[in-house]
Amino acid sequence: MKIVALSGSKVGTKTKTAMNYTVKSINDKIPETDVTLIDLADYDIQFSDGRNYLEYAGDTKYVAKTIMEADIIIIGTPIFQASIPATLKNIFDLLPINAFQDKIVSLLVTAGSSKHYLIAEQQLKPILAYMQAQIVQKYVFIEEKDFYRNEITSDDVLFRIDRLIEDTVLLAETYIKIRKEKEAAYGF
């Protein structure tokens, strides 16, 4: 099972800190899993111009292709100006319609204010649903106060991330199993 952990912003450190912990926790608990961290701050990605994702070059192609090859995508995102960052939306725009079909997607959201809690529910999930993702419904919402100098200080947040990983993998395993059974029944 291939997991991509996508840190969706070039700004700040909170989302990156949460994603680093997420990847470390996956490696500790399920070491046999193939997990790739993509921190968008490390890549130079062009804006979508509508072409097929295979036709981009360099970092843009690498990131799009890595996401398309994943079974699970764990998206970490901050909330800016009451919405998701443009860097993350651009990733969605680079990918084909139905890009997340047969993929499991789960979410970690970092924000400076609790007022941003429903942004993921109202703005991010509809995009993922449109792109046909199987979404892990419950997401981890982490506020400013839970971080101190590139570390998560709240055990509650750490527990919630660990549960999110478990739920994500469980949904993926279950979904893959159901899909395999269904596809075997087609007989081709």
């Binding site: 111009d49 072409r51 097929n52 994702y53 292709k65 269904k182 596809e183 087609y186 007989g187």
Partner: protein, 352 residues
């Protein structure tokens, strides 16, 4: 219809098309050489002609896993190797070519083939060729519209006065040779939404409609939109042929056809498009209402006749060689078409 060399009294025309893809057989992981693939395409056209198939066309794709970039050259070879079958491009990417050169090529193919050549002009679903041939992707729409218009103009008039944005002006320019009967059937390639079909209708140009999969009634919307737009522009829709194009594969039973063709479509789509073909959609494709003509000969006959009833189209062309299907299987398909499918379709659609 005569302008487009279509005799409706003979019933629905049946054709085959290839995009010229060049992909490893997923069962063996082996890929034949480009040389062999091109020769097999030419051979396929000959076999199609012998089986009584009406039409054969070759597409232009400038990207990895394809081999008929110079599709007009391949068509010239087919013109020489055959004597009855209609031949065409599916499609010519007019946006990134010079319409004058395209016309010279296809008029020549028409002369070599003694009046059998047609052009289907499209605008590419992939964009690598814009860089390769030196065009700006941002001109995607306008390049297609302007160059397609010029192509139609050249088809109407031997001497051209024209100026536009993307090509040097033509002043009393003579475009020769002329095709055998003075003009070529030129079609507009249309995919997806009715918006594209409407443009073909407004221009009063026959339409080639690509259909990957889905219920025939959904594609009917594009066909209705085309005819309505043509009427509004003062054209008689009864004079404008419509052709559909989609996946085709015949085997003894529908289950066998699905088992044989699915791996090719799925792996081929992954390589050329970046996503496989979802099994669920492919399974639904067997439904009599779905446009995907994959199944037993009887199943395919029923589907094509149903589609003909819904669309009232003049030609259907099938793509059966996608994804590295071995030549033996293609020959088997042609045999089933020639002996079972074609006679039944003609019997039910020809005017008695």
């Amino acid at each position: 219809m005569e302008n487009y060399r279509i005799d409706t009294s003979k019933g629905l025309e049946f054709g085959l098309y290839t995009l010229g893809d060049h992909i490893s057989d997923p069962h063996t992981g082996k890929r034949i050489s480009a040389e062999q693939r091109i020769h097999e395409i030419i051979e396929l056209a000959k076999l199609a002609e012998q089986a009584g198939i009406d039409f054969f066309s070759v597409g232009e794709s400038h990207q990895d896993y394809f081999t008929t970039q110079a599709h007009s050259v391949v068509l010239a070879a087919i013109a020489q190797a055959t004597s009855k079958i209609k031949i065409a491009s599916s499609s010519t990417i007019i946006s990134t070519l010079d319409p004058v050169r395209v016309y010279e090529d296809f008029a020549t193919i028409d002369l070599i083939s003694k009046g059998r050549a047609e052009i289907i002009a499209g605008r590419a679903s992939r964009i690598g060729l814009f860089d390769l041939l030196g065009y700006d992707l941002r001109d995607y729409e306008e390049l297609y519209e302007e160059k397609f218009e010029l192509l139609l103009e050249i088809n109407k008039n031997e001497v051209i006065n024209w100026s536009g944005q993307f090509r040097a002006p033509l002043n009393n320019a003579k475009v020769i040779p002329r095709p055998k009967d003075g003009s070529l059937p030129i079609w507009r390639a249309v995919g997806g939404a009715p918006a594209s079909a409407i443009k073909a209708g407004y221009a009063g140009v026959p339409m080639f409609l690509a259909m990957l999969g889905g219920p025939a009634t959904s594609f009917k919307r594009s066909i209705d939109a085309f005819r309505e737009a043509a009427s509004q522009s003062g054209f008689d829709p009864a004079e404008l042929p419509i052709s559909t194009a989609g996946f085709f594969y015949a085997a003894e039973t529908t289950g066998q056809a699905q088992r044989e063709y699915y791996p090719y479509i799925n792996e081929g789509m992954k390589l050329t498009n970046g996503r496989g073909y979802p099994k669920q959609h492919f399974a639904q494709g067997a439904d009599p209402r779905d446009v995907m003509n994959i199944g037993s000969p009887q199943q395919i006959i029923e589907k094509i006749l149903y589609q003909h009833e819904v669309f009232g189209h003049q030609r259907y062309i099938g793509q059966m060689d996608f994804g590295g299907v071995p030549f033996e299987k293609l020959k088997k398909n042609i045999e089933l078409i020639g002996t079972e499918i074609l006679p039944a379709i003609k019997k039910h659609t020809a005017r008695k």
